[in-house]
Amino acid sequence: MADVTMRIWRGDASGGDFQEYTIAQNEGEVVLDVIHRIQATAAPDLACRWNCKAGKCGSCSAEINGKPRLMCMTRMDELPEGTVTVAPMRTFPIIRDLVTDVSFNFAMAERIPAVLPPPMPEGGYRMFQQDVERGQEFRKCIECFLCQDVCHVIRDHEDNKQHYAGPRFFIRYAELEMHPLDTNDRRDYVREEMGLGYCNITKCCTEVCPEHIKITDNAIIPLKERAVDAHYDPIAWLGRKIRNGSKRSAAEAGVQPAP
């Protein structure tokens, strides 16, 4: 097979540039294989984050020819002929080379009020497949943060990071909202504190999801509807008052995130 030229961003927080590496290709390789061979030979200090190399851990996110993808699941032979450009995710601060500081996401995870099921009955909970499947779709998430990377609300507006959870965590809020056991009501919280309203449903997140989760259609839109209902629909509000609420508010439940 012909050699390929890889144009890889090298540098750190103080700056950097693309460097070219020309290397032989082997049949069936993915981008991460080629990066590894460059590491093992020409550039042992080339920083890239990876773990499973099987599309299951979500560590090796990068922008390949400008598109956010997993390096381990992008086959070289599916890319157009010519130079392949590999850059770090742009939304997050650079640590080195292809490695970015994704701590924003872990900070957002800490702010999620915990799951709060009722006490478990003798012999375990009963839940039905059709009810768990809604949440299971969102629990496929491998936390590659490509959806966060491509979301223009944070990609183009750094200050939004303080009050915007982003698609990865909207699917988590949706999962908890649809969880058959959870009693913790986060609808006001996700609207008021997590910036759900900033999402204007451009579906960029859904397009880049390597797990093919329908982030916008199955999570964000239903979550928006539920959050809005909770806040503005007087009948729904009254109904909840009368039923005394099947879900408690996050504050009442006393499971606000740890400091």
């Binding site: 750190d12 082997n26 049949e27 069936g28 390789e29 993915v30 294989d33 590491q39 093992a40 042992p44 200090d45 920083a47 890239c48 984050r49 990876w50 773990n51 499973c52 190399k53 099987a54 599309g55 299951k56 851990c57 979500g58 560590s59 086959r75 640590i95 080195r96 080379d97 490695v99 500081d101 994704v102 872990f106 995870a109 800490e110 999620i112 915990a114 799951v115 099921p117 478990m120 375990g124 909970y125 009963r126 839940m127 039905f128 497949q129 768990v132 949440g135 299971q136 629990r139 496929k140 998430c141 491998i142 936390e143 908890l176 969880h179 959870d182 499971v255 995130p257 740890a258 400091p259």
Partner: protein
Amino acid sequence: MTEYEHHDYDVLIIGAGGAGLRAAIEAKQRGLSVGIVTKSLLGKAHTVMAEGGIAAAMGNIYAEDNWQVHFRDTMRGGKMLNNYRMAELHAKEAPDRVYELEQWGALFDRTKDGRILQRDFGGHRYARLAHVGDRTGLELIRTLQQKVVSMGTDVFMECKVLQLVHDSAGRIAGAVAYWRPTGEFVTFKAKAVILATGGVGKSWKFTSNSWESTGDGHAMALWAGAELIDMECIQFHPTGMVWPFSVRGLLVTEGVRGDGGVLRNSEGERFMFRYVADMFRAETAESEEEADKWYADHSAGRRPPDLLPRDEVARAINAEVKAGRGSPHGGVFLDIGSRRSAEYIRRRLPSMYHQFMELAGVDITREAMEIGPTCHYIMGGVKVDADTAATRVDGLYAAGEVAGGMHGANRLGGNSLSDLVVFGRRAGAAAADYIEGGHGPADFDAGEVAAAIERALAPFTRESGENPYDIQRDLQDMMQANVGIIRNGPELADALTQLDDTFSQRVANLKVTGGRAYNPGWNLATDLPSMITVSKCVTRGAIQREESRGGHTREDFPKASAEFGTFNLAHSVSGGTYDGEFTTVRSPLLTMPDELKALLEEAK
């Protein structure tokens, strides 16, 4: 001593996979301060790679299932080399640990009446694996991760521990580590340390393990004065991908066979019927017809031989390939496409479907997969007390893959995830008991810290030296060739000579280029001492165990020997480094109480 960033905790947990996170929850619930150190990001640990399920005798599908049957299956699967007490505790406690995960938000697949669905797996008499499609490990780690985060636990991500630190009385006092993003050193003082560092598979060329599985915890425990047992017992999972070459070794879940997939050779023959060992003959189907009835109803026929324990299946595949009946790329065929509907396969095995479609261009609903054995798991590990996960070093505990004994000579599929949560919890509780009992270090050996840091930095200061990647590649090639699935005396002796002389020398003289911040070459340089240490123990054990048992096969000693079935091989090292003086001794198995012996007798 030079000042470094320093943290104090009651309990320091090294590793953030299933065992580490479960231990953290337990210690945290006891009101202790807990720090978790992981060399990757939180949620990326190798636990996410577990596919098929978590074994627990809940009896949701077959009411006849109970802990006694699970215990018996585990002991037989482990070829009786197990620490019986660990197997007993594991079988008894696994159901509670699964139910507990549901209380923390896990969503397992369900039966029609709304209970947790359980699937068939190799070596388990009944359908026993709670699962979420074929991504059960992800569900486990995410559930534990979310629980740990909601409890406000400190997690040090991309921080690699180099060495454990003692106090002046020889108790464990903490650890020294470095931050991968910056290359700066950090010390942790703790009253107790729990190792939960996972496996060692990265020392083999074809492995399902990630870069992290370098045996750091095994090596650190050994250097700190603990013993390692059963290190020769390595599980080669029968079904790893063999093509494309770049993904060779990548795991294909046993769930494919549990859900109806069968193994065939190049002649289309279901060859496993020819490889049924005497131990399993009475419970294994004799014909394809009988085997196929079993999937729908376990009382209508006996188990298909495709679902024998992993060591049996891996050896059979190896033999077929050697006999010239392999697939084009040197494996055999795993066929589910001709046996189950496309809809069923995509629902039950979604990530296998995508893995083959995207990486190999193979549609498993229509074509057979090419698969072969891949280095997957080490049964051996740190010798621990079954009830407390305590090592022989005061204040040091080990749980999960890094601990030895639970699985004996061969682990059953699904018993790993349950091992993590059962013994992770026990380690956390025992560490808490130790601390509440007023135990803990008197001081913190600054000399050990300084020495560890000096060793870590040495590769930067050498004028010249080898690229660590070259050493790693040669080590993987050598271990694959000499200490692989089928072993013999001369090759093992050659391996040990190479490890003791060539590789130790090469590691002592390697050179790292670039700076300290996020430098993967340097990171590898700090992994190599662990890899060499573990490889030495594996090879020494393999030389001394002159028999074949479970994950250790000697072509020069092809049968199991009654004498060798009475002890584990236990390793220790003096000098606290990879080039110290290694010792290997016979350590007798625990004596099983009569009531447990009776369970095994009944089963025959």
